[in-house]
C-alpha cells in the first residue's frame, strides 16, 4: 500500500504566466513576448524555489510569440497548412526545450544504500527502511526480476510499498528507484559484528576489516551467492554462511548473506510539459509532411 504525500505549491506559477497569452491575441508578436516575459519576471521572486517557474516562464516566453504569430496569420488567412505545421513543430520543440530546463532545475537526487532491515534518514524524505529484498534468479546467475519492499516517511505521514527494477515506487511527488543491488554479508571479525555492502557487479570490492586491514570480498561463484571469498595479506579463505576461519590470523565468522540495495529518490520530472510538447511537435510534423510533401521542392 502506498500513502501519497501531497506537495505544497507556492502561489503563482504557470497559469499566471500563460494568462498574457489571452490578451496577446490581437496584439503584435513582440507585445505578446514582452507581456509573458514581464509576467515571468514578476512571478519568479514569489516562489521558492524559483526553478519551478524558470521552465514554464521560458516555455511561455518561447511559445507566446509563436502562438500570436500563428493566430494573426490564420486570421488574415495568410497561412497555409504546411506553414502552420512548421510553426506547430517549432512550438512543440520549444515546449520540449522548456521542459528540459525545468528538469535541469530540479533538486538533486537523494540516495539510500541499505542492507535488509536497515533504516536510513534521507534529506527531505524522512526515513527509508529496506524491509526485504526479493529476486528471481536465472540459470546464469543473473536476475530476471528484483524488487525491494520499503517503508518510511516522517513523523506524521508513513508509507510502505514495493520498488522494482523498471517499476519505481511512486510516493506522489517523488519516485524511488533501485539503481544497485548485491549481497550484504554479515561477518563477525575479531569479535565485532559487521554488515558489509560490497559492490560485486564488476568484481571484488575492498574493505578495511578490524585487526586484518585491507581485505577484498568477492563471490566465489555467481551461481551461489552464499559463498564468499575473503582475501587479505595473509591469504584467502572461502566461507559459506555459518562457517568460521582465520583470515590473516584473525578469526572471521560469516553469519549469513543478506542483501543490499542502492535507492535513488527522484523528484518527479517535467514529464507533462515534455509530453504536451512532443504531441504538438508530432502534430506539426504530420501536418507539415501531409501538406508539404505533395508539393515539389522549390
Amino acid at each position: 500500500m502506498t500513502i501519497s504525500i501531497s506537495s505544497i505549491k507556492p502561489p503563482g506559477g504557470p497559469p499566471a504566466l500563460l494568462a498574457p497569452l489571452a490578451s496577446a491575441r490581437a496584439g503584435s508578436i513582440a507585445a505578446a513576448g514582452a507581456a509573458v516575459a514581464a509576467a515571468a519576471a514578476a512571478a519568479l521572486p514569489r516562489g521558492a524555489p524559483g526553478w519551478r517557474y524558470a521552465g514554464p516562464a521560458l516555455g511561455a516566453a518561447l511559445l507566446a510569440p509563436l502562438a500570436a504569430y500563428l493566430f494573426i496569420r490564420l486570421r488574415a488567412r495568410a497561412l497555409d497548412a504546411a506553414s502552420a505545421g512548421r510553426l506547430l513543430l517549432h512550438a512543440g520543440l520549444a515546449a520540449v526545450v522548456a521542459a528540459a530546463f525545468m528538469d535541469a532545475g530540479r533538486p538533486p537526487d537523494r540516495y539510500a544504500h541499505l542492507a535488509d532491515g536497515e533504516t536510513a534518514a534521507v534529506d527531505g524524505v524522512g526515513t527509508v527502511r529496506l524491509e526485504s529484498f526479493g529476486a528471481v534468479p536465472d540459470p546464469l546467475g543473473d536476475h530476471r526480476r528484483m524488487w525491494a519492499d520499503l517503508s518510511g516517511g516522517g513523523a506524521i505521514v508513513r508509507w510502505n510499498g514495493r520498488a522494482e527494477v523498471n517499476e519505481p515506487l511512486d510516493l506522489g511527488g517523488r519516485l524511488v528507484y533501485i539503481v544497485g543491488a548485491g549481497i550484504a554479508p554479515r561477518l563477525e571479525v575479531a569479535g565485532r559484528r559487521l554488515v558489509l555492502k560490497p559492490d560485486l557487479a564488476r568484481g571484488p570490492d575492498r574493505f578495511d576489516l578490524p585487526g586484518i586491514g585491507p581485505a577484498s570480498i568477492a563471490l566465489a561463484s555467481k551461481l551461489d551467492e552464499g559463498i564468499i571469498e575473503i582475501g587479505a595479506a595473509g591469504g584467502a579463505v572461502r566461507l559459506a554462511p555459518g562457517e568460521e576461519a582465520p583470515v590473516g590470523g584473525v578469526p572471521v565468522r560469516y553469519d549469513r548473506a543478506g542483501r543490499w540495495v542502492r535507492l535513488r529518490i527522484v523528484e518527479r520530472e517535467a514529464f507533462d510539459a515534455a509530453a504536451v510538447g512532443l504531441a504538438v511537435l508530432c502534430a506539426g510534423a504530420v501536418l507539415w509532411a501531409l501538406a508539404g510533401f505533395k508539393k515539389p521542392a522549390p
Binding site: M146, N166, V179, A285
Partner: protein, 273 residues
C-alpha cells in the same frame, strides 16, 4: 542449437562477403553481369540472417535485442534488407538498378560489406545467449530497438546512395532517394531516442543522463537533422548531400556501436543485473 546458430551466422557472413565482393567488382570493374550475382547473394544472406534471428528467438524465448551478437544479427539484417529495397525517386518511377546497374551494384556492395563486417564482429564476440535480466524487461526496449534498427537501415541506405553519387555513378533520382531515406531515418531515430528516454525514466529515474551513449545518439540525430535542414532550406544536393548521408550513417554507427565499446556507460546495466 547454439552450434547450429554459429554455423548459420558464419554462412551468412560468407554470403554477405560474396555479395559485397560481387557488388563492388560489378561497380568498379564495370562488370554489369556481376550485379545479379551480388543481389542474389544478398537475398540468400538476408534469408539466412532471418532464419538465424528466428532460431535465436526460439532458443532464448525473447526478441534478439540483448548482447553484441543479437544486436549484430538484427542490425546487419536490416542493412541486407536495405540493399534489396529499391527506393524510388520522387517521380515514382525509374528504379535505379534498371537505370544504372553499376551504381545499383555499388549500393548493394557497400551495404553488404557493412553488414558483413558487423555480423562477423558480432559472431566473433561469442554466440552464447546473454541473459534477459531485469533492466531489459520493459516494453520500451522493443520500441527503442525497433526504431533504432529502422533508422540504421534507412541511414545505411542513404549512405550507400551517397557513396554511389560520390563515385560518380549517381542516377537522376539519387538526391531524392537520399533525402527520403534521411527523412525516414531522422523520424525513426527520433522515436528510438524517445522510446529509450522513457525506458531510462522507468529504469534510472531520468529521461536523459548525458551518458556517452545518449550524448552520441543526440549528436547523430542532430547531424541528420542538420543535413535535412540544409537540403530543405538551402537546397543541399549532389556531392554535398552525399557526404551528409555518409556522415549521418557514420554518426548512428558510432552511437550504436562505437561509444558503448570505448566509453564507460550506464548502458551495461551491471549494477542491477
Amino acid at each position: 542449437m547454439n552450434e547450429a546458430l554459429r554455423l548459420l551466422l558464419w554462412a551468412t557472413v560468407g554470403l554477405l562477403a560474396a555479395g559485397a565482393a560481387a557488388g563492388l567488382a560489378a561497380a568498379l570493374l564495370d562488370a554489369a553481369r556481376l550485379a545479379p550475382a551480388a543481389r542474389g547473394a544478398v537475398v540468400v544472406a538476408a534469408a539466412s540472417g532471418a532464419a538465424a534471428i528466428i532460431l535465436r528467438t526460439l532458443e532464448t524465448g525473447h526478441a534478439p535485442v540483448v548482447g553484441n551478437v543479437e544486436n549484430a544479427m538484427t542490425f546487419s539484417w536490416i542493412l541486407a534488407a536495405a540493399a534489396l529495397i529499391r527506393v524510388r525517386s520522387s517521380s515514382m518511377g525509374d528504379p535505379e538498378a534498371a537505370a544504372a546497374p553499376a551504381g545499383g551494384a555499388l549500393r548493394t556492395g557497400f551495404l553488404a560489406a557493412c553488414a558483413c563486417l558487423l555480423l562477423g564482429w558480432g559472431t566473433l564476440q561469442g554466440t552464447a545467449p546473454a541473459p534477459m535480466t531485469s533492466p531489459y524487461r520493459s516494453p520500451w526496449l522493443g520500441v527503442h530497438v525497433l526504431f533504432y534498427v529502422l533508422a540504421f537501415g534507412a541511414l545505411g541506405a542513404a549512405a550507400a546512395e551517397g557513396v554511389r553519387v560520390l563515385s560518380g555513378r549517381g542516377a537522376a533520382g539519387s538526391d531524392a532517394r537520399v533525402g527520403r531515406c534521411l527523412a525516414f531515418g531522422f523520424a525513426a531515430e527520433a522515436i528510438g531516442i524517445a522510446g529509450g528516454a522513457i525506458w531510462a525514466h522507468h529504469l534510472w529515474g531520468h529521461y536523459w543522463n548525458w551518458d556517452p551513449v545518449e550524448t552520441w545518439s543526440l549528436v547523430s540525430w542532430l547531424i541528420v537533422g542538420a543535413v535535412l535542414h540544409l537540403r530543405r532550406s538551402h537546397g543541399l544536393a549532389g556531392r554535398g548531400l552525399a557526404w551528409g548521408a555518409v556522415l549521418s550513417f557514420a554518426g548512428i554507427a558510432a552511437s550504436v556501436w562505437g561509444v558503448s565499446l570505448l566509453e564507460e556507460t550506464f548502458h551495461d546495466y551491471e549494477a542491477i543485473r
